[in-house]
Every structure is written in structure tokens, then in C-alpha cells.
């Protein structure tokens, strides 16, 4: 299949057309959306099948002139860092749409599905774009649909939450836009300028240390807000608590990854000296995120907020892995992104399923659910264990590699891996505390009378959960194929970063 990446962008857009035609018919709209996202999932697997494992560079390249007077190109490509994130995105989108079509979304179904398909365009695009301008367009394209998804179909404080989400994200990304244009102007002389990543990597000698310092900051702000890193995380709990279940799944599962991916894809290889300059602060913030996210999770009374804060901690592992700048850390970070997508996506799904049935999210109001819902308990239990990093499940692999990389981290000045490693490891212990304690309070004990008649998982919910469960176990027991895909590209990025910093400093 040629142009498989473009196809991934076209399919959701094409799906919007029949959606608009059957706009009033909620049933037809749901079917169109489910079929479209399923086709998208299949095509993304085709892309994965076409990917040559072991090659480090970009593959499945597509390139066409887009804005010739600016030298901006429509340029798509994938490497080991991005190729796995794309099926993750399409799978989570498919599950979100499938779950929402089961009755979780009752009003304005047409608009909801249209927003979701548009969101999918942005999400897959972000992981494929190799031109910075194109990347920015996709990065921002995710914003408006998510804004609507939270704001229209969200909880009681949805308007506050969605505005906060948009304003935080936009403030960061607009500064990145200034940075992108600065990169453009520095990339060459008039007529020869470019924003194409492969091109730029060859020209990074043009980026002076001072330039890198500021432009890295502009990029880092955008990505740090998106991730979110502390202290820019305050939009996340609000957005998650108010978002509908499907919104939470993709928000945690995919949108946050755009930040970590952006760091690894653009900020680190393009501005290695800037990276070095900001490294101490970024590592500190990562470890703070791990510990702070975990401590705050322990005291959460709201189930969804707990999962949201645990995301802050998990994303801390991603940034930590990226910024220790070694192979284990980098591979661990990518794996952590992938695993967090499946596991936290699943956790939000199950919190959502639970809420649909009980209409309660306060942990104190729940309890004993295991007595009534054996199936739910089994699934939820596995995901909770995966999230806390139990060996044998996928969460462990990523965190282990990140910690391994952290221990090997050995900077010229400042505290090294032997300081940060143990500090981050405490976060893993804390994760066990808040997750197990939550599981105990929610699932065990006596079941309330009011919940006694509530049904266990419906077939649709099982269908939604099974792929995630399979991947959670599979990636935990057998992570090697994924590592084999990721590793060469991470190595390449790190090599480029070291090389480029040598060129500039010379």
C-alpha cells in the first residue's frame, strides 16, 4: 500500500463526510464513526507491518510541496520512536469511539463523533509530521476538538476546565510557533530556508548556543505544558475530571504523548546545546513530578483525579528517561509512553464504566464492588497492577529501563544518577501505595445496597477492554520486539544530538 501515512490522515476526514450526511441519525453516525476508526486502526497496522525493524532512519517517507514560497513541505515519515505510537493512537481512538457509541454519549452524537474524527487527524498527524510547520498544524489541530469534547460533553465544571486546558496549551504552543519561525529564519539564507526535520538536522551547525538556549526554551514550554510537567500540570486534573470518558482516554493516552514525543523528535536532536543547558532543571522537574504526582495521588478522594495525578507521575518517568540522554533512558521513555497509553487509557475507561453505573466517583462512596462485579474486578485489577509497575506487566518494563538509564546518568556537574535514581525509585513504591490502597477501598469491603443490582461488564465493554489487556500482558512478558523497533531510532537521535553539539561547539 503506497502512501499509507497520508491514508491515515485522509481516512478520518473522509469519515466526516458520511457523518455529516447522516447527521440527525444517531445510530448511523455511531456506525460510521466506529467503522471509520476501525479502518484507520487496520491501516495503521498495515503501516506497522510495512515498517522495517532495525533501521534507525525515517521510513515510509512522503513529501510534497505545500507552501513553496516558504519552502514548507508536506512531509511525513516514521521511525522507531513514532511507529508504535500510531497504532496506539488509532487503537485508543477506536476503543473510545466504540465505548461512546454504547450509550455513554447521548446528546449531539453527530458533533461528538465529528470532533473525535477531527481529533484523530491531529493525533496521528503529530506522530508522522516531519516538517515543523506541519507538526505545529497537527499539534494545534488536536486543540479545538478536545476543547469541544470536554466543553460540551463534560461534567459540571466543564467550561472552566476546558478553557483552562486550551489557554494553557495555546500559550505554550504559540511561543513554540515563534521558536519554529526563528528556526526557519536561521535555517538558511533567503530562498533556501526550510522546516523539514531531516534537512534541519544536517544544518544544526547554524544554531548558535545562545539561539539554542532560547529556542529550546520555547519548544520545551509547549511540550512541558502538554505533557504536563510540573509546574504546568494544573490544567490536567481539571480537564480529566470534567472530560467524558472517551475524552479522558485519548487525552491521557495520546495527547500527553505529543509533548514527550516532541521533546524526543524535535527539541533534543535540533538543540542539543539548549538541551544540555536546561538539563538540570528538566531532570529536577521530572523527579519532582514523579514524587509529587505520587504523593498527591495518595490523598485524592476522587477516583478520576487520582488517575489523572498518577499520569503526572508517569509522565515524569518519560521526561526523566528522555533527559538522562542515554539509550536505556530513551528506549524506556518511549516504552513508557506506549504503556502509559494502554494502561492509563484502560484505567480511565474503567473509571468511566464504573461511573456510568454508580454515578459516584468519590472513593469514599464506593466499596465492595468486587462482590458484585467479578469480571470488572479482574480487568481493573490487572490494569492497576500494570500501572504500579508489577514485573510481568508492561508498566514495569518502561519504568525499569528509565530507572536503569537514570542510574547510569553521569553529568559533568551537579547530582548524578546515584542521586536521581533512588529518588525516582521512591515514586514506584508510592505508586504501589496509592494504587493498591485505592483498589482496596473501591473494590473490597461490603458492597452497598444501592450497587447490588448493577450489572457487571457488558459485552461491549469487554470488547473495549480485551485489546488493552492483551497488549498490557504481551508487552510485559515479551517487550523485546517493541524494544527492537524503538532502540535504533533512539540511538540515532542521541547520536545526532551529540554530533550536532560537537559541530556547534567547535
Amino acid at each position: 500500500m503506497d502512501h499509507v501515512l497520508t491514508l491515515l490522515i485522509v481516512i478520518p476526514i473522509a469519515g466526516i463526510v458520511p457523518l455529516v450526511l447522516f447527521f440527525r441519525d444517531a445510530r448511523a453516525v455511531k456506525q460510521v464513526a466506529v467503522v471509520t476508526t476501525f479502518i484507520e486502526l487496520v491501516v495503521s497496522l498495515v503501516a506497522l507491518a510495512q515498517f522495517h525493524v532495525g533501521e534507525a532512519g525515517f521510513q515510509l517517507l512522503e513529501s510534497a510541496a505545500w507552501l513553496p514560497s516558504f519552502g514548507i513541505r508536506y512531509e511525513l515519515g516514521v521511525d522507531g520512536i513514532s511507529i508504535l505510537l500510531i497504532p496506539m493512537t488509532t487503537l485508543l481512538t477506536f476503543i473510545s469511539v466504540l465505548y461512546s457509541s454504547g450509550g455513554a454519549i447521548k446528546e449531539r452524537v453527530g458533533e461528538f463523533m465529528a470532533a473525535f474524527l477531527l481529533l484523530e487527524v491531529g493525533m496521528v498527524g503529530v506522530f508522522m509530521a516531519l516538517d515543523l510547520f506541519l507538526f505545529y498544524v497537527f499539534f494545534e489541530l488536536m486543540l479545538v476538538p478536545m476543547y469541544l469534547i470536554i466543553g460540551i460533553w463534560g461534567g459540571p465544571r466543564r467550561v472552566y476546565a476546558t478553557l483552562k486546558f486550551v489557554l494553557f496549551t495555546l500559550a505554550g504552543s504559540l511561543l513554540m510557533l515563534v521558536g519554529i519561525i526563528a528556526v526557519y529564519l536561521t535555517s538558511g539564507d533567503a530562498g533556501n530556508r526550510t522546516l523539514s526535520l531531516p534537512e534541519l538536522l544536517g544544518r544544526s551547525g547554524r544554531f548558535s548556543p545562545d539561539f539554542q538556549f532560547w529556542v529550546f526554551l520555547a519548544f520545551a514550554l509547549a511540550f512541558a505544558i502538554k505533557m504536563p510537567m510540573i509546574p504546568f500540570h494544573t490544567w490536567l486534573p481539571d480537564a480529566h475530571v470534567e472530560a467524558p470518558t472517551a475524552g479522558s482516554i485519548v487525552l491521557a493516552g495520546v495527547l500527553l504523548k505529543a509533548g514527550g514525543y516532541g521533546f524526543l523528535r524535535f527539541a533534543v536532536p535540533l538543540f542539543p546545546i539548549g538541551t544540555q543547558a536546561w538539563l538540570p532543571i528538566l531532570i529536577l522537574l521530572s523527579v519532582v513530578a514523579i514524587l509529587y504526582g505520587a504523593v498527591v495521588s495518595v490523598v485524592q478522594k476522587d477516583l478520576k483525579k487520582l488517575v489523572a495525578y498518577s499520569s503526572v507521575a508517569h509522565m515524569g518517568f518519560v521526561t526523566l528517561g528522555i533527559f538522562v540522554l542515554n539509550q536505556q533512558g530513551g528506549v524506556g521513555a518511549v516504552l513508557q509512553m506506549l504503556n502509559h497509553g494502554f494502561v492509563t487509557g484502560a484505567l480511565f475507561l474503567f473509571v468511566g464504566i464504573q461511573y456510568e453505573k454508580t454515578h459516584r466517583r468519590q472513593i469514599a462512596d464506593l466499596g465492595g464492588l468486587a462482590n458484585g462485579w467479578p469480571l470488572y474486578t479482574a480487568f481493573f485489577g490487572v490494569f492497576v497492577l500494570a500501572s504500579l509497575g508489577l514485573p510481568g506487566l508492561n508498566g514495569f518494563v518502561g519504568e525499569f529501563l528509565v530507572l536503569l538509564g537514570t542510574f547510569k546518568f553521569n553529568p559533568a556537574t551537579g547530582p548524578g544518577g546515584l542521586f536521581w535514581g533512588p529518588a525516582a525509585a521512591i515514586g514506584v513504591i508510592l505508586a504501589a501505595v496509592y494504587l493498591l490502597w485505592m483498589f482496596q477501598r473501591v473494590m473490597f469491603g461490603t458492597l452497598r445496597e444501592a450497587y447490588r443490582a448493577l450489572p457487571d461488564l457488558s459485552p461491549l465493554e469487554v470488547v473495549c477492554a480485551v485489546p488493552l489487556l492483551v497488549l498490557t500482558v504481551l508487552l510485559g512478558v515479551f517487550p523485546q520486539p517493541a524494544i527492537a523497533i524503538i532502540e535504533p531510532s533512539v540511538q540515532r537521535v542521541l547520536a545526532i544530538a551529540t554530533e550536532a553539539s560537537a559541530v556547534v561547539l567547535k
Binding site: F70, V137, E140, L170, L174, L175, L177, I181
Partner: protein
């Protein structure tokens, strides 16, 4: 004056003739027929005007050097005609509902359009001034056209008084320029100034007066005070037109006068313009944040956009890309801002008052097409892809950074984030609030929906493939490249 001279300004003649024809037709045909035929006649005349003038041609002067027709002229001719057409299409049902005389409305818009087109033709201070007056005097009338509404009266009067004041100031500045150089042609002034520089105190006075006069016309902070009341009080279709065409024309005048006649002083005025730009965008946005009335909020937002455009003018050292960015932004702003104001026409309120945020509650479920178009315009005004407003911001940021004005670029970015708050708040009320019991009636107008649909589509399509328009703007900026 030769026959060739007249051919040069054929599009302007066509629009003038159409205006006269509309006035005659208004007197002749019955009221029911007028409702259909007058807008049709107006649009037909405007279309004819586009075809009456060439899109690109080697620049040539006419009327003894008073007039120049070049790619710049061609660009603005098309832009003004499109804006006038858009304003005509959205108006009929509103005018009928408020009993505003339709014939006069269209004719006034056409006369104003001729004035705006004249500015784009100018090679001489006198032509600029005639064009400005011919453009703004009809707009004063437009603002006050709802005769029995006191806000409309206030709008007309305020606009007229401050407009007259700024025209006087501008004219005084032109007089100083004439005194300095002994000529009113742009090229002559440029030569005289290049020889003398800014050493002469008189040059400084002339520069200051001209800058202030033009800043009034474009609604630059701190010369913007007339804008909110004039925009708010005018009948909404008039506001939609007023907020874009005169501003575009003001920037045409700024480019012609500043870049050509005062080009040799570029380094001196560009620093001032950069500061004015930052003050204007920040001032407009901060005040817009606090507006519960959407029409007034859009008035302040249009001030903020003046700031973004002005930033492009300030970056003139970046060369053609700066002027092209200004032209593209003016084009983008024209469509999206006219569209945004026009969306308020749906709300059938008393007088000329604009809707408050609360009155827009649940608008999406009452008028899906209008709400979607409004949302697209607002997203575009915010500068989020894939819209024309986003690419326009990128095109502005590029020369601003290229000219070394990094602080101004950061100011634009922060301002855009600030503006997102009030733009998206409108979307919140339209999409995320339920319809109130006291929601205003809606005007039934399919023509408006059709016009907004086309404009909304254009905003997205050009946002995805902007290269054609940008290249056209680049060509149009060629006369300013030395």
C-alpha cells in the same frame, strides 16, 4: 485627461456607476422588488468591476502622475470588491427588518468602496486624501443609518467628529510634507527626504502628524477611542463593513505613504510603529477581555488585529515579506472579521445593539450553520490552524522575527493566547450553554447563512492551501521593494 486615463480607473468608474444606478433603481422599483434586485444589482456591478481591471500588469501612471495602477492596486481592488460583496450579501434581511433604506445602504457601501479603491491607486498625497475622504464620509453615514436609534446616531456623530479631526491632522501633515519637498507626489517627497534626512525639525513634525492621522484611521491605540462606540452603535451589517474595508484602506494608505513617500525615514518610523503595534494589540485584547457585549468585544478585538498588522508594517526592514504579510493579513482579517460581525445579524434585537454573551447561549442548537461559521471565524481570529487567521499570523511573525523584533514576536504570541480566552468564550456560550428562556428571536435569513457558509469555507480552505493568495500578496508588495 485622456481616454487612456479613464480606462486605467475603469473599475472605479464601474463601481461609481453601479452606485448611481442603485440609487435610481431604488427610486423606480417597488419595495418588494427592491429587496431582491438592489443587492443583486450591487453584486453584479462589483463583479463587473473586478473584470474591468487587470489582475496583474506592469505598473503605469495616469492622470499626470496622480494615479498609479500596479499589482498593489490590483490586489486591493479585488479585496475591496470582495468585502463590499460580502457586506451586501449579509445585509438585506436585516435592513428590511429594521426598515433601514436599502438602496441608500448599498449605494453608500459602493461609494465607500470607490474611495477605498482610490487609495490603492494613489501615487500622490492628494489622491490619498481624496480617497480617504470619499471612503470615510459614506461610512459616517452608514454608522448613523438607523436614524431613529440613538446609539446609531451617537456612532455616526462620534465617528464623524473624530474622523474629521484626524483628517485635518493628516491634511496638516501632508501640507508640511508639501512645504518640505515642494511636491505632492510620493516619489518627489521621497527624493527630497532622502536628501535631507530627519535632521530637519520640520520633517519630524510632518512625520508625526501623518503617523497620527493615519493611526486614527486605522484605529491604533491610543487613537482608537472612536472605534468601540462607532462599531457598537452602527447597524450590524454596516459595522461588519466598517470594521474591515476602512481598516484595509487605511493600511493601503499607510503602506503607500510610509513605505514609498516616507520610505527613506523607515528606520525612524519603524521603531515607533513597533511600539504602537505592541500597545495596540495589548490594549485591544485586554479591554476586549472585559466585554460582555459581543459586538463591542469584536470592536476591541479588531483594534488588537490592527496591532498585529501594524507589527508587519514595523518589520519593513525584512523587505517584501513584510509588506506581503501585511497584505495577506488584511485580506484574512477582512474575511474573518466581516464574517464574525455578520454572524451577529442573526440575533433579532432591539435597535442596533449587539448580543451579549448570555444571549448567545445555545445558539448552536438554534442556528447550527451560523454557529459553526461563527466558531470558524473565531478560531481563525484566535489564530488556530487550519484557518486563514493562523497562516496570517505565521506570515506576520516571520518578517517580524526577520527584522530582529523578537520581543514583538513574543508579544504577538502572548497576545494571541490572551485573545483566545474571549474568542473561545463565545464558543462556550454558543455550544456549551443551554438555550435560555429569554433568548432573543432569530432573524430568518438564508442569504446570510449562504454567505457565511461560503466565507467560512474560504477561511478553512485558504488556511490549508494559502500559497496562491500569499504569492499574489508577494507580487502586490513588489512596488515597495527597492
Amino acid at each position: 485627461m485622456t481616454f487612456d486615463d479613464l480606462v486605467t480607473v475603469l473599475p472605479e468608474i464601474v463601481v461609481t456607476a453601479t452606485a448611481c444606478l442603485v440609487l435610481v433603481a431604488d427610486a423606480v422599483v417597488g419595495r418588494a422588488a427592491a429587496r431582491l434586485w438592489l443587492p443583486l444589482l450591487t453584486v453584479a456591478g462589483l463583479v463587473a468591476a473586478i473584470f474591468a481591471g487587470p489582475i496583474t500588469l506592469p505598473s503605469h501612471t495616469a492622470f499626470g502622475g496622480f494615479v498609479v495602477v500596479d499589482t498593489f492596486t490590483a490586489f486591493f481592488r479585488v479585496l475591496f470588491v470582495v468585502l463590499a460583496m460580502f457586506a451586501t450579501v449579509v445585509a438585506p434581511d436585516y435592513l428590511a427588518r429594521r426598515a433601514i433604506p436599502a438602496g441608500e445602504f448599498y449605494a453608500t457601501i459602493l461609494f465607500s468602496t470607490v474611495g477605498a479603491m482610490t487609495i490603492a491607486l494613489a501615487a500622490d498625497l492628494i489622491t490619498v486624501f481624496i480617497g480617504l475622504e470619499l471612503m470615510t464620509i459614506p461610512v459616517y453615514v452608514l454608522a448613523g443609518m438607523a436614524r431613529r436609534d440613538r446609539y446609531s446616531n451617537e456612532a455616526g456623530l462620534k465617528y464623524f467628529l473624530l474622523g474629521a479631526f484626524s483628517s485635518a491632522m493628516l491634511l496638516y501633515g501632508f501640507a508640511w510634507l508639501y512645504g518640505l519637498s515642494g511636491t505632492t507626489t510620493f516619489s518627489g517627497i521621497a527624493e527630497a527626504i532622502a536628501a535631507g534626512g530627519l535632521t530637519n525639525g520640520a520633517t519630524l513634525v510632518a512625520l508625526a502628524l501623518v503617523t497620527v492621522g493615519l493611526a486614527f484611521k486605522a484605529a491604533v491605540v491610543p487613537f482608537h477611542q472612536w472605534t468601540p462606540d462607532a462599531y457598537d452603535g452602527a447597524p450590524t451589517p454596516a459595522t461588519a463593513f466598517m470594521s474591515v474595508a476602512p481598516k484595509a484602506a487605511a493600511f493601503a494608505a499607510i503602506l503607500r505613504v510610509m513605505m514609498v513617500a516616507l520610505g527613506p525615514l523607515g528606520l525612524d518610523w519603524s521603531a515607533v510603529f513597533a511600539i504602537l503595534a505592541a500597545v495596540t494589540m495589548t490594549g485591544g485584547n485586554v479591554v476586549a477581555l472585559a466585554q460582555p457585549n459581543v459586538k463591542r468585544m469584536l470592536a476591541y478585538s479588531s483594534i488588537a488585529h490592527t496591532g498585529y498588522i501594524l507589527a508587519g508594517v514595523a518589520a519593513y526592514q525584512a523587505g517584501a515579506s513584510a509588506s506581503a504579510a501585511v497584505l495577506f493579513y488584511v485580506f484574512a482579517y477582512g474575511i474573518m472579521n466581516l464574517g464574525a460581525f455578520a454572524c451577529l445579524i442573526y440575533l433579532d434585537l432591539d435597535g442596533t445593539r449587539g448580543a451579549t454573551l448570555d444571549e448567545l447561549n445555545g445558539f448552536a442548537s438554534r442556528q447550527p450553520v451560523g454557529a459553526l461559521a461563527f466558531a470558524v471565524f473565531l478560531v481563525s481570529l484566535t489564530g488556530i490552524p487550519p484557518t486563514i487567521g493562523f497562516v496570517a499570523k505565521v506570515f506576520i511573525l516571520q518578517p517580524v522575527l526577520d527584522a530582529g523584533l523578537t520581543w514583538l514576536a513574543v508579544a504577538i504570541a502572548l497576545n494571541a493566547a490572551l485573545a483566545a480566552f474571549y474568542y473561545l468564550r463565545v464558543v462556550v456560550h454558543m455550544y456549551m450553554h443551554e438555550v435560555d428562556a429569554n433568548a432573543p428571536r432569530l432573524l430568518r435569513t438564508d442569504l446570510l447563512s449562504a454567505g457565511l457558509g461560503v466565507a467560512g469555507l474560504a477561511v478553512v480552505v485558504i488556511g490549508i492551501v494559502p500559497d496562491g493568495i500569499y504569492r499574489w500578496a508577494l507580487q502586490a508588495a513588489a512596488p515597495f521593494v527597492r
